[in-house]
């Protein structure tokens, strides 16, 4: 980035007004803000609330599964619980999570801009999210939906007696919230980069969000119209998807998965972008094979649109199409693997420190690899025929979504927390939480690979007694994982008032975001930056503690 000098450690002083307090703390200035940083904070609040709601669904599911018999809730209720968990976690947490929070906050700053291209659309995105949230909460309070988050027809169109239409309206509106974010990022990244910031000098976080935004704008509209058709069919009794009325349920699956498979890349790509940043910062090395990682993001986005049929191997889809989808699905694993290799190569001979964000990044690399490899197993049609709709699939996607995406989110949240809030969190508790999350996660989901392989179906409320031990282990793990999530919720909150104040660059990292105050002023930079260096250029940084303030602080803590 700009020429590295021994910059004085400045704090956001009253003379340098930060975005947090510049317009006062009144509610109106927050609810009508156009500042991307404030919108990011608003989103952090919203998605955290929905995360805990979705987690509650998971908790109840896991409690029921402690015993083989269906004895805690009724079968119908169980269906509603796992649907709640899926709908909330997919649409209201994972898809918006990193882009709407870290992305909104950092994209303009990382490219040296004052804001996103369309600030009002950004605010509208948050409002749409919350309107959708109110509707889905209303549906849940009235009794919820029992179709699974996948809304398969004709159950969703014809036979379900739950609040399908209301939930669909909520998801539809949420989709537009997502589209607004993606559209904003694409235009911003194309048109608002600082002078000197060419495409190949961009942080990989930006490449990841660019690729994610491409997926959002191309895929989301298709699921939107498809779910709208389901709602219309349900209301009018027409037959686009219901075979009894001349419709085609496999057509629904094609249209649904055309979006929902790329959607999983919406969920993981931003997280991968975070990992690139964390690995570079905490190994103090440029990311190995920058161009390959950048192109891999685009490749994942494009190839991700060609593989959706691997969700439909046993649906009645033609075997020939299945074979083609199978091969293509294996291909899409390649750019992901490239990234894992490059992160690992970045670590090699790096100057590694074990701060909390790095712990999450290391956890990500391992867990994502397991999730990814089991994905290739599932892409193998012959295997999938046996494990489709079993806990093997459930374990696979949780390794990616939780072991991957959520750990990336937590790592990024911890890394940029000082920048966003101007406060440091307590390092000890943060590391404990990271370890609890890692241990709890593996205990929850590894048994599920075994369960699935042994034949336990997913979305079942009762199971044969021989599966109980593994289920108990899984629920125990979920409890530990839950504690691991509650701890950050507590100490991050605590740090807002009592945390040590952060300097501009508490990690001694490269990046435009670290060259402004913590927290930044409303216009992001006091003087508009000009970029003259590549990303992750650690060559001019020397190894003194001054350049690694977090280590100096650590010594202080343990002295």
């Amino acid at each position: 980035m700009t020429i590295a000098t021994a910059a004085p450690e400045t704090h956001a002083t009253p003379e340098v007004k930060s975005y947090l307090g510049s317009a006062g703390w009144d509610l109106k200035s927050w609810l009508l803000t156009r500042d991307h940083k404030r919108i990011a904070i608003l989103y952090v609040i919203s998605i955290t609330l929905f995360f805990f709601l979705g987690a509650l669904g998971a908790l109840l599911v896991r409690l029921e599964l402690l015993t083989p018999a269906g004895d805690m809730v009724q079968a119908d209720t169980y269906n509603r619980l796992f649907t709640l968990h899926g709908v909330i976690m997919v649409f209201f947490f994972l898809i918006p999570s990193i882009p709407a929070t870290l992305g909104n906050f950092l994209v303009p700053i990382m490219i040296g801009a004052k804001d996103l291209a369309f600030p009002r659309i950004n605010l509208a995105s948050w409002y749409l999210y919350n309107i959708a949230g109110v509707l889905v909460l209303w549906a849940i309070l009235m009794g919820g939906v029992d179709t699974g988050w996948t809304f398969y027809t004709p159950f969703s169109t014809t036979y379900s007696n739950s609040y399908v239409t209301l939930t669909i309206v909520a998801v539809f509106i949420n989709g537009f919230s997502s589209i607004f974010t993606g559209l904003n990022f694409i235009v911003t990244i194309h048109r608002m980069r600082a002078p000197g910031l060419t495409w190949f000098r961009l942080p990989l976080f930006i490449w990841a969000h660019y690729a994610t935004s491409l997926i959002i704008v191309l895929g989301t509209p298709v699921v939107a119209i498809t779910l709208a058709l389901v709602a219309v069919e349900r209301s009018l009794g027409i037959g686009i998807f219901d075979p009894a009325l001349g419709g085609d349920p496999v057509l629904f699956q094609h249209l649904f998965w055309f979006y929902s498979h790329p959607a999983v890349y919406i969920m993981i790509l931003p997280s991968m972008g975070v990992i690139s940043e964390l690995v570079a910062a905490f190994a103090r090395k440029r990311v190995f094979g920058y161009h390959f990682v950048a192109f891999a993001s685009i490749a994942i986005a494009v190839l991700g649109f060609l593989v959706w049929g691997h969700h439909m191997f046993v649906s009645g889809q033609s075997a020939y199409a299945g074979m083609v989808f199978s091969v293509l699905s294996m291909l899409v694993a390649i750019p992901s693997a490239v990234k894992v290799f490059n992160w690992t190569a970045t670590l090699y001979q790096g100057s590694i420190s074990r701060e909390t964000p790095m712990l999450y990044a290391l956890g990500f690399i391992g867990l994502f690899t397991i999730g990814g490899m089991t994905g290739v197993m599932l892409a193998t049609m012959g295997i999938d025929v046996h494990v489709h709709d079993t806990y093997f699939v459930v374990a696979h996607f949780h390794y990616i979504m939780v072991g991957g995406a959520i750990m990336g989110y937590l790592g990024g949240l911890h890394y940029w927390w000082p920048k966003m809030t101007g406060r440091l969190y307590p390092s000890f508790w943060a590391r404990i939480s990271a370890i609890l999350v890692f241990v709890g996660f593996n205990l929850t989901f590894f048994p599920q690979f075994v369960l699935g392989y042994l034949g336990m179906p997913r979305r079942y409320w009762a199971y044969p007694p021989e599966f109980q031990v593994l289920n108990v282990l899984s629920t125990a793990g979920a409890t530990i994982l839950g504690i691991g999530y509650l701890l950050p919720f507590t100490y991050l909150f605590w740090s807002l008032k009592y945390g040590q104040r952060a300097s501009d660059n508490p990690w001694g990292a490269t990046g435009l975001e670290w060259e402004t105050t913590s927290p930044p002023p409303t216009e992001n930079f006091l003087t508009p930056p000009v970029v003259t260096k590549d990303a992750y250029d650690y060559r001019d940084f020397d190894e003194t503690a001054e350049r690694r303030p977090h280590l100096a602080r650590e010594e202080e803590e343990y002295a």
Partner: protein
Amino acid sequence: MSLHVVPRKVYYWIFAALMVGTALTVGAAFVDLSAATGIPGLNDVVMLGIAVAKAVLVVLFFMHVKYSGRLTALTVLSGVLFLVILLTITLSDYLTRGWL
């Protein structure tokens, strides 16, 4: 990008072409082209071909893509490409159902 004012005459010609295309489409619909030429599905091909040609004219001239930069053209083409992907891959499932 500097301002490019398209001469009005261009618009009038494109309008005329679009009207001719519409007339051709309607006319061709009433003639069994497959029976006349022996090529199966020719009516569908002609109908879609004319529609695509009309769309291209609107995109290039009315929507100024001909006078815009590479990024605009790339954006349009991406949209079309992914629509084509949706349609062809979905269709390929149905077309290959009997194959294995």
